[in-house]
Assembly symmetry: C2
Homo-oligomer: 150 residues x 2
Amino acid sequence: MSSAVEELDRHIVELLVADGRMSYTDLGKATGLSTSAVHQRVRRLEQRGVIRGYAAVIDPEAVGLSLTAFISVKPFDPSAPDDIADRLADVPEIEACHSVAGDENYILKVRVATPIELEHLLGRIRSLAGVSTRTTVVLSTAYEARPPRI
Amino acid sequence: MSSAVEELDRHIVELLVADGRMSYTDLGKATGLSTSAVHQRVRRLEQRGVIRGYAAVIDPEAVGLSLTAFISVKPFDPSAPDDIADRLADVPEIEACHSVAGDENYILKVRVATPIELEHLLGRIRSLAGVSTRTTVVLSTAYEARPPRI
DNA sequence: CATGAAAAAGGACGGGA
DNA sequence: TCCCGTCCTTTTTCATG
């Protein structure tokens, strides 16, 4: 299998990660291709799942989510079947859920408005998923969601 | 000052987070506004910094970044001035850098292709920033960058 | 992959509640 | 102030070579 994304496609992806609304015309100019050629490639990248979609990048503070935290969780009963991710799937405050190697089983990234909300959220997570939690509060974010070097 | 984002704006932001390329026409239909009214609001949201920009969401594996890890770092010399974030700013593998409360000072999220690359990256981080590291490797990601409930 | 034409969307201006 | 309609321009989309 060659999941290889060739040079030109990488360039296109890189440009679209930096500006998801760049027009195909401009993409063409930047890559030296015609508009329709770029369009074709983008559609194939979307179909192949390389490009999953497009999203507006928002300032969490501006929408009232000024508290970010990482929560590491570990099941109370280590022998129970692991359906933690499923149990937490409908908690909207959880932005990311990673299964990890190490002391704990999962790392969650959450965003809430206030410390009290964080307290409530922790309670909900504990009871929903049957886990103990270890919380690391984010003080400031130098950068996040930085475009990967492709 | 009211950083308040009112109801209608929240709806628009929510829609654009879910689909950053949605047309103003469709946004208008979804919100009951005219195309130009939506357009005006979006531009104001962009100017106010609520919407920071737009990005293509890509599958990291598809571009050869199949190993994700969280690295907690702590300075060797706790009395040294904290310029860790600056020192690490030009390391492209670091996708996010959060200053945190807790045992360690920063949490980094990194993406690389292979375990060997992770090893090299850890060495670079240690020497660049003068820190010790604790690394948590991601085994699988149930979800990440999930749209926040606004 | 390029060209060219039809359809759609973007962007700017003036008017009205 | 906020929203709407209309203009013209640009972009998208699709057919064809």
